[in-house]
Subunit: 653 residues, 2 copies
Amino acid sequence: MSSEEKYEVTYFPHGRRDFFPTGTTAMAAAEKLGVDISTVCGGKGTCGKCKVRIDEGYETLGPIKPGETKHLTKDMIEQHYRLACLIKVKNAPLKIYVPDISRVGKQRLQTEGLEVPVTPKPMVRKYFVKLPVPTLHDMRADEERILDALGDQYGLDRNRLRIDYDEIVKKYLPIKLREANWEVTAVVWGDKVMAVEAGNTSDRCYGFACDIGSTKLAGFLMDLNHGKVVAVGSRMNPQIPMGEDVLSRISFTLFGGEEAQDKLQKAVVGGINEIIDECCEKAGVKTDEIYEMTYVGNVAMQMFFLKYWPKHVAYSPYPPVVRRGVYVPTTRLGLKGHPHSNAYYLPVFGGFVGADQLACIMATQMLERDEITMDLDIGTNTEIAVGNKDLVTCDSCASGPAFEGMEIKYGIRASTGAIEKVTIDPSSLELHYRTIEDAPAVGICGSALIDIPAELLKSGLIDNKGKFVEKMTKETNRLRKSKEGMWEYVIAWSQESATGIDIPITQGDLRELQKAKAAMHTGAELMLKYRGLTEKDLDKFWLAGAFGNYIDPENARTIGMYPELPTEKYVFVGNAAGTGARMALISTEMREYAEEISRKVVYYELAVAKEFQDEYAKSNYIPHQDFNKYPLTKDLLYRLGRIDEKNKWIYPE
Amino acid sequence: MSSEEKYEVTYFPHGRRDFFPTGTTAMAAAEKLGVDISTVCGGKGTCGKCKVRIDEGYETLGPIKPGETKHLTKDMIEQHYRLACLIKVKNAPLKIYVPDISRVGKQRLQTEGLEVPVTPKPMVRKYFVKLPVPTLHDMRADEERILDALGDQYGLDRNRLRIDYDEIVKKYLPIKLREANWEVTAVVWGDKVMAVEAGNTSDRCYGFACDIGSTKLAGFLMDLNHGKVVAVGSRMNPQIPMGEDVLSRISFTLFGGEEAQDKLQKAVVGGINEIIDECCEKAGVKTDEIYEMTYVGNVAMQMFFLKYWPKHVAYSPYPPVVRRGVYVPTTRLGLKGHPHSNAYYLPVFGGFVGADQLACIMATQMLERDEITMDLDIGTNTEIAVGNKDLVTCDSCASGPAFEGMEIKYGIRASTGAIEKVTIDPSSLELHYRTIEDAPAVGICGSALIDIPAELLKSGLIDNKGKFVEKMTKETNRLRKSKEGMWEYVIAWSQESATGIDIPITQGDLRELQKAKAAMHTGAELMLKYRGLTEKDLDKFWLAGAFGNYIDPENARTIGMYPELPTEKYVFVGNAAGTGARMALISTEMREYAEEISRKVVYYELAVAKEFQDEYAKSNYIPHQDFNKYPLTKDLLYRLGRIDEKNKWIYPE
């Protein structure tokens, strides 16, 4: 009985396991175990998304199949990588490791990011106290009665504590105390009792952390008692109409003055307030129960959010106004939340490198490590840091919002119907795509915008200058000239799309994507050079950013978005900026650490370096003008017949 | 030659001395030396104001003259007191001590008070810094640049410092810095840079201290660099129309709610702002140059000023809302001054005993002494404290505003034309009065309102129940029945007055004054009793209050305003509340001391004591129902023929 011939398949790092008969594909086993493995083609062996590493039982699987060679690099094959849809259990148990790159994110919006264990030690704590009723023998002041109880019952330092002035005055503390029969909950923020609530509300203590991206806002409602996320939400940054990138928004304020500053500030706060409302709605929390907030974002975002005059950060030598973490009452900024709550904006570095990059460094603990690691926080403004415990340096580059779907003809945000994965079989040119929630295609979102140039390149549909290879029209009707005379390649046909029209990627789109990836690569390349390092010195390469775990790191590498490293050195940290904001929200120690990071990390302004334009020009090639910088990609393209032995592009005849 | 027969006359504590011929009166010598000695009668020996103690040369002066026996008590005579206008240099040098009670105050408004030496250690300091200009090698943030300079050049803790958020945002710090060519003055308040000013403004650093009395506001503009008063001002408390005493003002809020609270708050702040303007005008200071303020006042004043809900302090067990010192931004209260300045309201005790009494205890250092001392802070609400380093207890009593001229028919505040001193010769019934600036009489102010009942009593014009002795109409035409049928005694005749009408004191006025002094005495008496003390245990008796040094302590004692002690035990501390406010303004150490006092001093609510009504009834007599409690006054009245050996009042036949 084959039913008795079952062999254990164990998946790591999940630790899930069960017995499966010979002939079961690894993909099918994974599905039964609830292990997420990415796939676009539906198990046909063509998309190459389901790469897994076989740690035990590799010898039972038989030789690499032709479908696999197209997707696995030489180093991967050496490391026993296979495609899960093409391998089967065969008379032996298997131990299979699913790398980050093959996992399916659970949230469409990468708002969770890296989870770094942090012991909750929030700035805000709630304390329920039963107070003695005043008598002629105990005539203590109302405030004193509360502070003494906090000292007696919870060991707080009663001499340093004060009750918020407005809580006493505007909320009529004396009346509230008596109506509550002297049983109240004190909400303590640092040395301040920021609120006094009737009865015992100590189990309801929330905070809000937010990553203000130039293009996207990501918010996290957290239970501060337990340090857990209870709801997430995101929005496009409503400042976009006032300028797609930070420089155009700064120009907007330079021409518009205070009124323009107001407009930018109110716009972003409006978006944040929508997220707050949404999160509160989802989690059944009142906005008044949000007692503290933390914010991260680049320096321009800091300036717009806090209304600092942004002019000088746009001109050499680019000094910010404030480097340190800043506490501002939320009401002063127009934010929802408890009226006496405060917003903490994490420290920034210099130029445009802000609290978001600091948060990445905090989350990846770069500054604690012996080994040298590098991080790339991908966004409209991309930040780069490199170093170890001795020195971390950082830089930023204006990469533009192309990868966030802006300035791309059919670019959209990651929402229902967005094309999020695209694969093209290099031989058959068969195209597969996946949309969010499998809905009819509406447009193309960030992760697919990385896949497309990579897949086009591997399939020979574009050359390494990013230009469509016109002769390939013979091979596929997807490649065509638009009515406007521009070359384009259709990803989704009108009959599949929700809009009823074709959804192509255009030559212009490719140009935008090239510019964006070139800027990122240049920033990373120069930072390494500046430090006297090469990619070989890097132990890990942290990939952070708004689209986080959804991007395909190999495709991103293939197009030359960042230096080439062996696959296992790339670590996705998703929205690490959001992670850092959450760490700081739940732990005051993390805020001190953040201040320390902002003092220690050295900012370099590399955009002014002479080498920048040179390197940028070379980086506009895909992956790079110099193939030797991308040996793995070169090997792949060579095996696919795209380049010859002299790295020369082979055009079809 | 008599010109050669000169003898040295030395005045203490002034230390002024010169040689005078035999025959020169001590008063004339004092005038030549610029030593202030009080006189009302102009040197006729009838007013008795010029009491001095002869420390050397007493034996050369001859026997006590009849004019002197009327004014000097037995103990004073034993201590070699004489009247300066009646004694002359006679072939020997004299050393003469002028006690507090015989000195002429220099300010009409007792806004200076006790000067306790305090080393200036203000919360606000100014630091001029020249900042390095940003370069690509020095890209520090604008804030950082300033804080680093404060650290480097002045040793401030740069890691704890922050620049006020509004100073950065609303005042456009980045623009200001560049316009000032990077030379600025940082105004540091605690750990906060509250302002950054262009250029070097470090020599202009001011603060404002204010005593908020129920009836009177006294303000002091101070140079914080040197701890000196640069201007003083005062106003009636504009809250008076909303209630003359604290309880009626509290009732006003109970009926009127928040609107009434607003009205009270705006009224007092309006008055304070007028004083601020006046002081700034006098001293040539801009209101923006006032960087900090301190406030004292009783608990009701604290509540109205800060808008605490005042209801519960009016009902047993009378708990205040906040005991501790409170910092509130001045803009939050509507005060003039630098927009980022703060107001510090000193700590209070309980019931109505507030920061004004605390300030007295601070100024008199009661809590530092081995000996037991008592203080009486005379005002609409009178506070009493007694004790030494082991324990100080305090209490308050609602004495009403009679001594501040309120509810007195011709009562006015101490201003030009106010009758401030009154004497009546006990034999001739000749009356003398002195007005402020010797202007024609307008009305009667506080100090004279103490003189009048004392002088009337000594002259037999009223009895010890405070009733006019009608038969005395035979002796003086000043005593008469008014048209309304009420007895009154004319102080100034119409031809002398600025108003063209007679200025009398009425039987009703006397009743008000009796009630006020009885309340004060009862408070002091019960506090002593409560502590198991008698007046004999007191080493010093501090007299503080709005009219401060201008009251005649002996007359006040004669009418029984406070326990009877030998004259030298009374020490005037003037507006000690204002002194305390100033001490706290110029020294953060004094604020810590204030907090310590407020924790250590024990408040007793004695108004609810059973004995209160009993003692109050007895204290309504002048000086008291029990003459044995006032042996010195008894002796005086006996010698003047007002009472017999059995302490029975002798009415004229």
